[in-house]
Symmetry: C3
Subunit: 132 residues, 3 copies
């Protein structure tokens, strides 16, 4: 289960880093919710999630590359096949000149469920951005 | 075993990040030792460990949030149910204004044993802080 | 498999951080290739790999400590016992005065095979350094 969960986050975050907003939104359930401590309203549903990812990508300065690292998983199996996952994510930013820095540090509290093919999907995510 | 060890470090470090000094100390054996390359004397026993964690927390500037990421586990099972673990830890700091940075990078060399309920506990930890 | 792969990267990168260029090169096949987005020519074979690692180590400023963190593994088993692995690596640098920073962020795309003793070895690695 650890391997499956860790692989899920790697794939999901890599889609964000590659600018695949739709592919990222597809890792949530149809009615999936993402609550960011930096936004007053949660994003609800894949269309809103994809739009949110596109807006975030558009706000990245030209030439800057972002990359997510997620880890520190605490995974708890709950009744009904639900997984409750706590994780930390660090987002790195590298400018066109190669200078790298920490962009953002956050904690994730997720409810994962199984999709129709048995695959993991995020039903509910809360992201607590440090310093916000 | 990998999953158990990785989950142990996630839980343990998260207690530090949440300011739970006693909860963190409780992840060591009663006579657990923590040797920091930045301190002349090791901390011995849970009371000293908790006091050390409280002192470290008190030294964090107001409004600054710290978060640990531990990874790069090399796990070796030794006779007597002992686990010898090498790991790296990066501590991030985020100020109240949201500016994030690397606070500290270190290597961990741990001896883990089983507690009365079969849970993992640190018997001996050596932390080598880079640049110190 | 996840545990084996994660442990392989931990051991391999730690050799680099400890300045063990030959030990690092030995985690590649005899004819192993490492392609860096920052170098026009790939390094081919263990002698060239070890020489490349020594050159990189010699370029580190005096008193600076580097440490790698690799994670975000996506592992795919392919026919013939080959593992295709995607991963992210962040390299941290800490100066003699203790000031730590992100040195480099990169993505790794690796082909791993089994050596004579069944151990994992890198047959082909591509490193995409962000901002380069």
């Amino acid at each position: 289960m650890y391997a499956e969960v860790a692989g899920f986050y790697a794939r999901q975050m890599r889609r964000l880093d590659e600018g695949d907003a739709e592919g990222w939104a597809a890792t949530f359930t149809e009615d999936g919710v993402c609550r960011l401590s930096t936004r007053p309203e949660p994003m609800r549903g894949r269309a809103a999630l994809a739009a949110g990812a596109r807006t975030a990508a558009a706000a990245i300065p030209a030439g800057e590359r972002r990359r997510h690292m997620t880890g520190m998983f605490e995974i708890e199996a709950r009744p009904g096949g639900i997984l409750h996952v706590r994780a930390n994510t660090v987002v790195y930013a590298t400018g066109a000149g190669g200078e790298a820095r920490v962009h953002q540090v956050c904690g994730c509290t997720d409810t994962l469920v199984r999709g129709p093919g048995g695959e993991l999907l995020v039903k509910d995510r809360r992201i607590d951005v440090d310093g916000a």
